[in-house]
């Protein structure tokens, strides 16, 4: 009896998850009347603005990942090594972006870095892009920090650092050759989460008026019927591909198998 109930609940969960996806996919295939076709996808992929905005957002995502890794890995490493007492504070700081709405952050940026400020970043397109990347880094901070910190927990940071130091390594070498490779799984999961967030982000990109993918999706949603749905399916596919890549990379990393 409980078995049947368990299966029933499981199936219900599956339906809840799969039905909207299936409906969405099915709808995206019905652009041509009376038959299934990939017209909506073809129309999207051929759209010059899609290509432009998508490329822009992917670039932003990569920049954000690099900046995020450069900030988070040394910070998490140093906090673990030398200032374990500060960990709660750092964790609190990294969680702030989850409670402060993006719109508040971006308004703050615009007020702080406008053309009449001491650092007029919004004066040029490149400056605004930099500002946007910084904003994205803040948004991705909770995910990146958690992932890296968890990965750091699985290695003996102090002893490995001391071993490397006694072998003549400086901080750069330690971070690059010892710490980063050993927390790579965490860095990658943080990176893929960052990628997913940045590619779909709307608020910051729209208010800073950058040609990003989020605002494009929003505009497309207002104007068209089938294409936005096709776009959503594509977005799901990208997310799943990222998740698959995470587990693939973790599995091919030989030395990580021992730890897990």
């Amino acid at each position: 009896m409980t078995r049947i109930l368990a299966w029933a609940i499981f199936l219900l969960g599956c339906l809840y998850f799969v039905l909207p996806l299936w409906g969405m996919t099915e709808f995206s295939l019905r652009m041509r009347r009376g038959e299934y076709s990939l017209d909506a996808y073809a129309s999207i992929l051929a759209n010059a603005e899609f290509q432009r905005t998508f490329a822009f957002s992917v670039t932003m995502a990569l920049v954000t990942i690099v900046v995020g890794v450069l900030i988070v890995v040394p910070t998490a490493f140093w906090v673990r090594l030398r200032m374990p007492g500060l960990r709660p504070l750092i964790e609190f700081l990294t969680l702030l972006p989850l409670v402060i709405p993006a719109i508040v952050i971006v308004f703050g940026y615009i007020r702080l870095y406008n053309t009449s400020s001491w650092l007029p970043l919004t004066g040029t397109a490149m400056g605004t892009n930099i500002l946007l990347a910084m904003g994205y880094t803040v948004l991705a901070l909770p995910y990146m920090y958690r992932a890296v910190d968890t990965a750091l927990r699985s290695i003996d940071v102090t002893t490995l650092t001391e071993a490397a130091q006694s072998l003549g390594a400086g901080w750069g070498t330690i971070l690059w050759r010892i710490i980063l490779p050993n927390v790579l799984a965490g860095v990658l999961s943080g990176a893929f989460l960052t990628f997913a967030i940045v590619v779909g982000e709307f608020t910051m990109a729209a208010l800073l008026d950058r040609p990003a993918f989020g605002p494009f999706m929003q505009r497309l949603g207002q104007d068209r019927a089938y294409e936005p749905v096709a776009l959503a399916v594509i977005a799901f596919a990208i997310t799943w591909a990222c998740m698959g890549l995470i587990s693939l990379v973790t599995r091919t990393q030989k030395h990580l198998r021992a730890a897990s």
Binding site: D156, L167, A169
Partner: protein, 347 residues
């Protein structure tokens, strides 16, 4: 001046003084053990030499150069850790070569050195070079860690309880291998342990530490047979201590448990021997002596009287004498002994 000079070292963590006025001159090529219970400050001394802790006072001089202001990576001191601390993301060969890359050793030379080091520890490059640390046993990992520490040719090798995580059989074998390698390379080595058997079996000299103080510094033989303080006596070996009062140091008479020996001349008393106050050269087989030392698990406290200071001719730096390599027998057989002449035999 000794090769490595540790002078008046002090270290406190907060209000807690962990190391108190620690002084130790170490000769080139010596194997020194820091022996003591946990919390006695032995690891802290080691970490100050390595540069992971900064002393509050005192100096550490290596060939006259003060190490204290130097960062750990500038000191050219190799270290082996209890937890192996191999880099899990690097292969055995890459681990051993790690210190060479940073030191700017050219690649072909580095490769030869890695092969050389792996041969030294008995894990040939062809078979083990491409393995990752997790594919090795604990003993093998610690050997690789030893090779890694030795590869950049450090001036001093520090071993921080390197055998504690290993099982008993491996521990004994690796211990003699470490000593063998140390002798072959002639590298000055400081070994931290809480295991007296380890310290007694591989050291040139032992520093027995307690509460941040070096209680006694001496050869294993001296430490075992002539403990300078009650702590050393109780920490090294097993014995039954009892309070005694020295009546006549010249005649070797003590009053123990309220009993005084009769007044017969000491020389004639059976089982009691005259003490020779003059230090004699070590390892002199011409001097007869009796194996007065008991087995640690043996019958009684004969042979070691804690609290009675014996004259020690050579503490600290001195010429390297082959006799100092002699390992102390756990239970010496009766026969010509080296230091027995100043033993006090109990009543």
């Amino acid at each position: 001046m000794a090769y490595l000079d540790i002078l008046n070292l002090e270290k406190s963590f907060g209000a807690h003084r962990v190391v108190k006025d620690f002084t130790l001159p170490i000769d080139r090529g010596e194997f020194i053990s820091l022996l003591g219970p946990s919390g006695c400050g032995k690891t802290t001394v080691l970490r100050m030499i390595a540069g992971f802790e900064t002393p509050n006072a005192g100096s550490i001089r290596l060939e006259g150069r003060d190490l204290v202001p130097l960062r750990p990576n500038q000191r050219q001191i190799g270290m082996v850790f209890q937890a192996y601390a191999l880099f899990p993301n690097l292969t055995v060969a890459q681990n051993v070569g790690f210190g060479l890359r940073g030191a700017g050793v050219p690649r072909p030379e580095a490769q030869t050195r890695v092969a050389e080091m792996l041969d030294l520890i008995g894990l040939p490059l062809s078979e083990y070079g491409d393995r990752y640390p997790f594919q090795l046993s604990g003993g093998q990992q610690q050997r690789v860690a030893l090779a890694r520490a030795l590869a950049p040719r450090p001036q001093v090798l520090l071993l921080d309880e390197p055998l504690s995580a290993l099982d008993a059989k491996v521990r004994v074998r690796l211990r003699s291998e470490i000593r063998e390698i140390q002798r072959r390379l002639g590298i000055t080595t400081i070994f931290v342990t809480h295991d007296q058997e380890e310290a007694l079996s591989i050291s040139d000299r032992i520093v027995v530490m307690n509460g941040g103080i070096a209680e006694q510094v001496g050869t294993p033989f001296e430490i075992y047979n002539h403990p300078a303080t009650p702590f050393v006596a109780s920490f090294v070996g097993t014995l039954t201590p009892f309070d005694a009062r020295v009546l006549d140091p010249g005649a070797g008479q003590v009053a123990a448990a309220g009993q005084t020996p009769d007044a017969r001349p000491a020389a004639a008393a059976p089982g009691r021997r005259q003490r020779d106050p003059r230090p004699a050269p070590r390892g002199d087989p011409a001097r007869p002596g009796r194996g007065a030392r008991d087995c640690p698990a043996g019958h009684g406290p004969r042979g070691r009287v804690p609290g009675v200071r014996h004259p020690h001719p050579r503490r600290g730096a001195g010429p390297h004498h082959p006799a100092r390599h002699l390992q102390p027998p756990r239970c010496p057989a009766p026969g010509p002994g080296r230091d027995d002449r100043d033993q006090l035999l109990g009543p």
